[in-house]
Symmetry: C2
Subunit: 190 residues, 2 copies
DNA sequence: CTCGCATACTCAACTTGTTGACTAGGTCGA
DNA sequence: TCGACCTAGTCAACAAGTTGAGTATGCGAG
């Protein structure tokens, strides 16, 4: 029931096709709401029949036609209503954490490799987020931006994503050193 | 396919009933893998038929009987195999972030209230995690613990939970001040 | 002595999310 | 000019997750 709201929040940035949304989700919303393109297309259809969004078919030369979706008044209202509701606590699923929890009786080397990979991935995300942030701010300082901009929501969620990934990097590094020492101890005990 | 692994990782701490697991999940695993009790019971049944765990019925006086599950050799092996596999990136779903993203065209006061609530909730989690950490460490310093303990996995995942919640608290506080200033600006514009 | 909470589950119905395959034209580099 | 990748989707099948209700007993507070 709540992918809808994420989609509507994304549509506040302007009309978009399913394909656009898939990319937009991947870039910024994925940080707190992941989904597959298929989920998006299915949900968009339902939202259209529910009157929350409306589609305008755009004929394109040299590209397949696309359907540009935009929020209707009803959609905006539903989104506002959603912001007023109490929200369920965060749901997280991280296989890597499960693997770390079981690392002591599993494949230590493989877990370390996964940690290294995750660390790199998080670092890559950080640079992408930094770029996005610079783009949002433009020439302005953060102070100026917060004073002038009509929307601060996307900026705040971006900050959350940034600090989450930075935290990830720190934790991966820490866990790696701990597991490395452990490996050394097990290889050459006492 | 992966709740299984979380359950098996939890069973490394020793045999447990579905009810125990539900509580254990709530206390520590929930941090990176949330699920409802129903999911647990269903999955436990399947895991039993798959031979990953085995159940021993414990007759209790003055309490309903319970089924104590423990890992089989096959289960341990499956868990080790899982740690060796590559892992899917984290999946997060946070309605609050969706609401913050849409806050500018939604109910600002309600979003601020949600942020305050989330902040308190995170603070409560932090104290619980701190207690768990103190319990894990016992009389030892972290150094001593990491050198002696047979399992460091649960400690590392606990650290991740702690830093995640601390980060949550910081971000909520930051967002609140930003939204408060914004509210002030909108109430009394230039 | 009753109300509500804790233990310890089960069942059924429903909604979400995931995977894989398929269509079909366009562009770009080797 | 061949293969690979990008745009812009659709369809079907399945796996996973959520919700709500029901069962039964015991314990302690008011």
């Amino acid at each position: 029931m709540s992918l809808r709201n994420a989609v509507m929040a994304a549509l506040l940035d302007g009309a978009a096709s399913g394909y656009d949304l898939a990319k937009a989700f991947d870039a910024s919303v994925a940080n707190f709401w992941m989904c597959t393109p298929q989920q998006l297309y299915r949900e968009l259809d339902r939202m259209e029949t529910d009157g929350l969004i409306e589609a305008r078919t755009v004929e394109q030369e040299r590209r397949p036609n696309k359907r540009l979706f935009s929020l209707t008044a009803a959609g905006l209202e539903a989104l506002a209503a959603f912001t007023a509701e109490p929200h369920k606590p965060t749901a997280i699923r991280d296989e890597l954490l499960v693997a770390v929890m079981a690392a002591d009786s599993g494949d230590l080397e493989a877990v370390k490799a996964s940690l290294r990979e995750r660390k790199q991935w998080a670092e890559a995300k950080i640079t992408r987020y930094e770029r996005l942030k610079a783009k949002l701010l433009g020439e302005r300082t953060e102070e100026e931006f917060l004073a002038e901009a009509e929307r601060v929501g996307p900026y705040l969620t971006l900050l959350r994503g940034l600090s989450f990934e930075r935290d990830n990097v720190r934790w991966c590094a820490r866990s790696l050193t701990v597991l490395e020492r452990r490996g050394a101890r097990l290889d050459a005990p006492t």
